[in-house]
Assembly symmetry: none
Homo-oligomer: 210 residues x 4
DNA sequence: CATGAATGAGGCTTCATTCAT
DNA sequence: AATGAATGAAGCCTCATTCAT
């Protein structure tokens, strides 16, 4: 019996092994400059093996983004489920969640925007693409919940909760891109945290019903 | 000397001709999928000629971003110079300026964020790169002026003006990326404007001293 | 010793199982487009197992051709052995035999001609290659017998029997290739039979001593 | 003025240069074992250049076959146009024409059957493919003319002229394949000529109305 | 200045074959 | 004997860049 299971576990482990290596290389060189050869070398496997676990370069890349989205969703669900937090406290928790997502994988998130927005990745298998969209929509909806709650409790100004979620997400991703770009000059300094704090400070003040 | 000048003017005109073509193609296909051949065809020149005006593909691309930054800077200077506007009115004007920048070139701006943030383009000649940085910093400083003024007039809460500028810029770029990514699904709808309005609405309320 | 035999029989059965699967796949996709993986899947075995029974892809393929040659030879021997048929009747029987060979495996025979004639397959182990040659020569000799008989009985014109056999074989293989190529356009129609009839009609008239 | 023309001529010359090299290599190694690298080396060009003149390997290969078909058609038209030859003389001329086609390119014709019949070549651009079919049909019709004439003059037995053309073509191609395969063992000897003579001898006798 | 044919390095991917289990 | 994951060589093709005209 357990033999099937073990196989499955080992397969999953290999996938992870590859993804870890891929993450390192993509983060360092970006999508197009990264070669499958690079990833093979980093993961100490052969190029052929990579294709046993991922259909192609695009799909390998996408699976990394997918993992982040998964993590994001989990964190967000955690926030919205908290019974004994006020909406404003939940916004604070949202900030922490987003920051953790960033810390979970500071560089890949950048490439994720590259994936998400434009360029290439219509070579993703529709399967994967649809999964990513679903996951992403789910995360946005989860975020919107917080705002809806605040509005319903008459604590936040009346704006479309979905739009507010969009603003938060855009702000977050914009900050990641922008602050990270500063790190190219000054790699040691952590730029994101303080700016994210200010941004959320203003956001909280801005949506608060006076 | 008139002859020298004319030569120079014609050279500049050619550069523009190429840039216009390049903008179209990059916008449609993104950086890596665009070939020099594509640009040559669109500009009705030969590939060889392209290299007489731009050192390489990267630099041609960067020059487009540069032009947008130029335009942004001009618009921002225009806003800060307005004597008879209150800081809050200037924020509104800032919003309009940003939106115009987006309209000036909706797609290239997206690619610019890619350039700016992640992927590759550290193969830009240091010259160009430093120019871009200078211009970008200048724009940020210009934006910060508005906030500084508001703070000094005791209308805005006390936050580091530069950080506020960063937040605005990040929010803007994040929204462009995010809303544009939605357009992949629903190409006709203009997503940016209403969301940008909400974002600035909240920003304005958020920094306003009560 | 019974045990040895049984082993041997089982080994042979496995070989057959693989060959049946291989035949299906090769027929559908042709030699180079067929992967060992394809054959493994079709035969419900693993790729590794394939190599326990056949040295390599080429040899597996060749063994299929070999089987057809075997079948051909048997049919031809059957024809030549018939005591109570006139040479001309034997020619008719030859036609039927050839057509049966075709029906036995319509598509593999096509690939066999590829193998036989051109492309690649000089990487066959000399052993196999020589076997195939031997078998093929035997078949040709068997065919020639019919013509020799007809000539000796003064019914056919005097031509080298071996050359006549060559002509028949070439005509047959040429027709298979040619008519099959037409089937690409019109897959349903059976082209070979009527054309083969005409060809043999002319052949019979052509060699008949008037 | 002439400048455009010269360019065109040079382009054509390059194409020929590549085709000559390709012919040599394909003939020696067959289609799948031939690499573009091989052809590049043989033609003393770079691989990239090959793709400036031919869309891909398949199309380069097909163009060789196309050239043979062209040559065949020309020769056949020449035969059918001859006013002062009897149908039977035209059959003799047909034989010579076919033999010349073979001599024009003894080895490529073999690969042509490979192309024509099965396997790969559905990656040919529909354009090229349709051209080849058109040309091939034309040649067959031209051949059929001879038989039709003979039948109308009551010299040949009544069989469908098109079917007779098919038989001749199949016989020819079958012989080329078969006799060429013998050359693998005995490369010096010219096998085709005498067998082709016998084949046509029998054919002529076979269709002649007694 | 302008051209555009030629280059050739390098990328992605496939697949026959091996070998540890 | 059977497996099938892993290998890695090798192929096709693209495209930024150069250079002779």
């Amino acid at each position: 019996m357990g033999i099937e299971e073990r196989k499955e576990r080992e397969r999953e482990r290999r996938r992870q092994q590859i993804m870890v290596a891929a993450k390192r290389v993509f983060s360092e060189k970006g999508f197009s400059k990264t070669t499958m050869e690079d990833i093979a070398r980093e993961s100490e496997l052969s190029t052929g093996t990579l294709y046993l676990y991922f259909k192609n370069k695009e799909e390998l890349f996408a699976s990394l983004s997918f993992r982040i989205l998964q993590y994001l969703l989990i964190r967000l669900e955690h926030v919205t489920k908290e019974k004994d937090k006020s909406p404003e406290e939940k916004i604070a928790a949202l900030k922490d969640a987003l920051y953790d997502v960033y810390e979970f994988d500071p560089l890949i998130i950048i490439n994720m925007f590259h994936l998400q927005s434009s360029e290439t990745l219509l070579n993703l298998s529709p399967q994967i693409l649809s999964n990513m969209k679903k996951m992403s929509r789910k995360a946005m909806r989860e975020m919107a919940k917080i705002f809806r709650e605040g509005i319903e409790e008459d604590l936040f100004i009346e704006r479309h909760p979905q739009a507010l979620a969009d603003v938060v997400w855009a702000m977050f991703s914009g900050l990641v891109l922008w602050e990270e770009s500063k790190r190219i000059i000054n790699p040691d300094k952590k730029f994101l945290k303080p700016t994210l704090d200010i941004a959320f400070d203003i956001l909280t003040r801005g949506i608060r019903k006076t």
